[in-house]
Symmetry: C2
Subunit: 363 residues, 2 copies
């Protein structure tokens, strides 16, 4: 794509407003500072199909909210995947300033820097609420912004999925040994752990997963949770639906080209920040509600199962090995992991006596 | 207080802006609708002391955010308790239009209508995230607005505490029978349940709780969690700190006088809504972070304990009785409880296989 300046500004269409010569860009009143905003248009590309449920509609609503909050001076044009740029090139094109911003999953960019995978979530790690707490209160966001700045990017949290399911299997997994040689569609750190447990992780474009599972080209696949999985029809291709461990709180991002971000007024920056916070909470709640609803409607052939203890014990050991190796190879990874682990430690001692304890009492 | 019109509007101080005769209240551009906002000032009273940690600073930040998002056209003046009105008169004064809005806990208003206590949270019930999901996605908010409209009020979610602790006890509770005759400071539905379990619930102003506990005038007190409890110094007056069951997700509110709300422009309404959503997420995360930190710093005399199983079993039965009785007495209570229970049912089947299951696997 040819480099273009997508961020166009126009001074509020002043002719149309009839303000003409009276217009001043910045004005102060006795009550405080009031700025008449220039109209700004942002081109934002996503990694999702048009109006993709929850994630895609989430960013649509985010854009609508920015428009409302700004009284129409901030227009974010959302481009679903492959309209402006392919789904997985949104990082590079935003980095180069060919588009202004993107909405995607952070786990996609571990090839850029393996440390980024930690900002996207950790197998057996923090839940969505805990991830966001680490990012906002315990130093995670500063590290994320520092590392993304090297790519001329400025990230904001752009939603989270809540706890994901472990995936669909054609046969039950009764012990660790049942994993041996299974072909499973599973990306990211979860895939690396599964590989150590004997699985053959495969990558497939979303459009090919159902057919591959149905025909037995793969034995298993993970996706998200009941709400999105039932749209994919996986319940028609596999009977065993396993509870989650590898994506307890995956983080999505709204990331800006850093120069574009810095050109925005403080008011527009605040609007984008607030709207992204609203989007994040709402997305987690919407996933909860729609997963709960979809779970009720799964057909009778579906059996909900939990992975056996020997497999989870082995997964913890395998994960530890993966993290240790990567910490040796990449000092950024180590730095981010150290911050993540410091928070995890204090969080766990609180969560164990609060949320976890309560959910067990309530049952 | 004499009835006054606290919501003052002035047309952007146009003289000062030098826009004079060019000003039009509403203008459209080819790119969309752009309104030049009138400056609006809102008087909001809280039930907290000045800059009270997390809750009070949360509403301070909410007001600051509204100012930023609006480019200074929406100013929310926050009045801590007893400055404009006493802490527990904010509901009435806002209802009457003597002030514009308030920030408080929903559980305070069960004397107005017992159904309101359900919007504030339920012992052994939904967590903060689950409460907000019920309110926003499963009909809770519509019921809340319908019932508050009878008091000329328009509520928004204004934060939540996350899971609270069960309270401080001078002696350990090893079985249900140890509760007999204990004097405990515990309000709300939790207090009603405790009463059925043999406790003598007492109400005390916050300023008197510590001294009463230290001197043995009361045997126990609940408050919030480690972050706020340690400020109260309870660890110096009691050794046994019990995990929570009665306030798993208490909801706070930012509630407007309904006429004042309807006079606001759609842009200002959107700003308040987004800022309250941001505040809600941030408050839950801040409670998590600060509780986790404060837990590490509790002195050695403090023993974290979980209530015995026979007590929790009895609490479930007692709660059921309290809810059934109130449902018979108040049809609003029944209507809200039915909605709450419908969501709770589908939520629980999802949460049991997702968050709860995961937190147990992770351990």
């Amino acid at each position: 794509m040819k480099r273009r300046d997508f961020l166009s500004t126009s001074a509020l269409g002043l002719g149309a407003l009839g303000l003409g010569g009276c217009y001043r860009e910045e004005n102060r009143t006795p009550e405080g500072e009031i700025k008449v905003q220039k109209k700004v248009t942002i081109k934002l590309a996503t990694s999702w199909p048009t109006h993709f449920p929850i994630m895609g509609t989430g960013v649509d609503n985010f854009a609508k909210r920015c428009f409302e909050l700004s009284g129409g001076t901030l227009e974010i044009k959302v481009y679903p995947k492959n309209i402006l740029v392919p789904a997985l090139q949104v990082f590079d094109t935003t980095s180069l300033g060919q588009i202004d911003a993107f909405h995607s999953g952070v786990y996609y960019w571990k090839g850029k820097n393996s440390a980024f995978s930690i900002f996207g979530g950790m197998p057996l790690g923090l839940t969505s609420e805990e991830m966001i707490t680490w990012l906002k209160f315990a130093g995670g966001m500063e590290l994320w912004r520092e590392l993304y700045a090297k790519f001329n990017l400025y990230p904001l949290i752009g939603g989270s999925t809540g706890p994901q399911m472990g995936g669909w299997f054609k046969k039950p997994i009764n012990s660790l040994s049942d994993l041996k040689g299974l072909k499973m569609r599973i990306p990211g750190l979860g895939g690396e752990v599964m590989k150590k447990l004997g699985v053959n992780p495969v990558l497939l474009p979303p459009g090919e997963i159902f057919t591959s599972l149905e025909r037995g080209t793969i034995d298993a696949t993970e996706w998200v949770g009941p709400a999105l999985d039932s749209i994919m029809g996986f319940d028609k291709a596999a009977d065993y639906y396993y509870t989650g461990w590898h994506e307890p709180g995956s983080i999505l991002e709204i990331t800006f080209n850093k120069n574009k971000w810095e050109q925005l007024s403080p008011q527009h920056q605040a609007i984008i920040t607030s709207a992204s916070e609203e989007m994040t909470g709402t997305m987690i709640q919407e996933f909860r509600y729609k997963n709960a609803k979809a779970l009720q409607e799964l057909p009778d052939n579906v059996k909900i199962k939990t992975f056996p203890k020997d497999m989870m014990d082995a997964a913890k050991i395998a994960l530890d090995e993966v993290l240790k190796l990567e910490s040796k190879k990449n000092k950024d990874f180590k730095k981010v992991l150290d911050s993540y682990n410091s928070f995890t430690k204090i969080n766990k001692s609180w969560d164990d006596i609060s949320t976890k304890n309560f959910l067990n009492i309530r049952a």
